[in-house]
Subunit: 409 residues, 2 copies
């Protein structure tokens, strides 16, 4: 008898009819002899509706009260899904995050999970019931309700699977799994049967939105196999786990496209030690993640410092940078929206060679200029012109023959 | 410094704008130097919307999950009201029923309050904050969420006032207070400055819908002064308390009109001991409250047993009665909708005399026939034709001069 955690997002439970469909899938899994715990998000747009209700009251609602408000969304979902299971004759019981034993760190709207005892969930499973747990929420040691922020429900599911020692954590989504590249951009994209946590982390961080990086990190930490699969059919998706088949024949797993980038340039920076540190300390203190960075050296003793941030951080970054730019005596602060980042990811790169050369050659053959390059052990990223992103993806995908099924059987 | 509990119902918090108005009133009370705890219901129709959502999933949802679902309604209200108070610069903190320490008996949808520690509420008040508590809900000893059923938020407010040793529990409503009779029926109706718990219980049970009997009972038990007042203006309402001014000069406090009655007649019942017991045991076992009862004796050794139930219990009562009627050999089971109950209530009746005679005389002078009479120490009820109810109310109100202000200053 396997222990299976299944996670369904807001779209999957967006209406009474969809909740009934989710219940049927859960019921089938339980009927096949498995112990099943389910994690659900708030219904469809309900979280957005609650946020807009709060903003009709106050433009800056206290975070504690926002968490109190938002936590109701998942509580509605767990009650309704449990009702739907009862209607199918399947014994089930719902738990809020606090009831399930999700202990959080006290950060109201962006909490981390400190511990997950899952005692009541274990008792329900042992009694032959399906446990339905609210994603995205927990309570701190003082009993205060916290929400987990972005990717919270994925993380709840993976953490629950770790707490239960589950055989697999299934993340149901509106795509079939993890692809070598976004199929909307490259029709030849191929679904991967398996991928490592590290590769998935690079792909997730780089803009492949099927699974939140926090959940992948949690899965890696606790060795939870994560099965990303479609909520529309029963076919297999992609399994994220520690080691994939040794001889899979590919160096690269996938290509990530990221259009959510803005390039910021601090122009004409005097060439003195500590100036780059000053700039990036200011940015870091404002809670802004910097992605690609290059520093170009001019002959006249001045540098340009270029880096990218996500679009929703642009305004904050500019506000933070303006005084710093004056202070260090830089000549100008510029930014551009018309850039995009393309990355190739693969654990095989650690041992394989020639990936960077192949990528640059493919881009060059397509006439695409590279503005910034950044590498890690398992990925290479290039900043290019936004209007060439799709061409770049197709060129690289074809160059590395990613569309051909080379996984071992 | 007074400790004041204020309760606002679903209509008062039915929109963002209304929540902001409630916050202003709470803020004024706190600004006047009082410690304020607020109890709120779910917004407007939100409870009905949750119920209809549940019924789109299942016609018979499990009670536990229904309580899990419905409890979200008040949680939304407390978060939003606390945000509104914060916007006004008033420090406030929200608590769900379980967080506030409402310990319930484990009945999911119709729970009674076993204990109310209110420790976190007390700490918030001591810290100079307004405490905003979810009405209608609590948790049992196992941490299961329960809702309190009808009148639950009123009861939460009065129980909280008892736990805090509050000076007064203010129940905000859409009427100005408790009147001698429904002002829509008798324009001369006068607002009462004070009324005893027992009188209010009779009036509340009899159909004056300003305050739920459970809340009055709780107030009586713990000696909590309850101020029923308007949410539209600052004028005083009616204070419900143990003893009102001794020499108030009135025997009768008010008249209650109840159109929610159906008369059921079990006709031609053999005159044997135990038959009435059989009938009312069956009704009682079905959870149906019987109101007025008369048994009329015929000469031929048969009786008619007449009684009233509320309209929404009619179908269930008939289903329960049909086998019993056959079993005891009664001749027929009949019912009539065109009846109404009018009652006069007054603690002064215990010592005063002539109330029954005056009521019957007033009805006779108006040409109104009495079908059933029932009395308690502080009330007299008559079942009459529904289309004469308003005439009866006006006649009795005039007869006892209830429109004249005779309260001591």
């Amino acid at each position: 008898m396997a222990v299976i955690v299944q996670k369904f997002g807001g779209t999957s439970v967006g209406s009474a009819e969809r909740i009934l469909r989710v219940a049927q899938r859960v019921d089938r899994t339980a009927a096949a002899g498995n112990m099943v715990a389910v994690v659900v998000s708030a219904m469809g747009d309900s979280t957005d509706e609650l946020i807009s209700l709060a903003h009709r009251i106050s433009s800056r609602p206290p975070e504690r009260e926002m968490a109190m408000l938002l936590a109701t969304g998942e509580q509605v979902s767990i009650a309704l899904l449990t009702m739907a299971l009862a209607k199918l004759g399947r014994e089930a019981v719902s738990f809020t995050g606090p009831q399930a034993g999700v202990l959080t760190d006290g950060n109201p709207l962006n909490a981390r999970i400190r511990a997950f005892t899952a005692e009541r969930v274990k008792a329900a499973l042992a009694a032959g019931k399906v446990a339905v747990v609210a994603g995205f929420q927990g309570a701190d040691a003082a009993g205060e309700i916290n929400t987990l922020g972005r990717g919270g429900s994925d993380t709840t599911a993976v953490a629950l699977a770790a707490a239960l020692g589950a055989d697999v954590c299934e993340i149901y989504t509106d795509v079939d799994g993890v692809f070598t590249v976004d199929p909307r951009i490259v029709p030849e994209a191929r679904k991967l049967a398996e991928i490592t946590y590290d590769e998935m982390l690079e792909l997730a961080s780089l803009g492949a939105k099927v699974l939140h990086p926090r959940a992948v990190e949690c899965g890696k930490e606790h060795g939870v196999a994560i099965h990303v699969r479609s909520s529309f059919h029963d076919g297999p998706g992609t399994i994220v786990k520690e080691a994939v088949k040794m001889e899979r024949g590919t160096v690269i797993s996938g290509i990530a496209c990221d259009e959510d980038q803005v390039k910021i340039a601090v122009v004409g920076v005097p060439d003195r030690p500590g100036i780059a540190a000053g700039i990036f300390t200011a940015i870091g203190n404002a809670g802004i993640n910097v992605d690609l960075i290059v520093q170009s050296i001019h002959r006249n003793g001045e540098n340009d410092i270029l880096f990218t941030v996500s679009r929703d951080n642009l305004e904050k970054a500019l506000a933070v940078l303006e005084p710093v730019v004056k202070e260090v005596g830089a000549k100008d602060l510029q930014y551009r929206h018309d850039v995009a980042k393309i990355s190739v990811v693969g654990a095989g790169m650690i041992h394989g060679t020639g990936v960077a050369a192949g990528m640059f050659a493919a881009l060059a053959a397509a006439g695409i200029n590279i503005e910034i390059i950044s590498t890690s052990e398992i990925k290479i990223s290039c900043l290019i012109a936004a209007d060439r992103l799709h061409d770049a993806a197709r060129a690289i995908h074809a160059h590395f023959k990613l569309g051909e099924a080379v996984d071992c059987p």
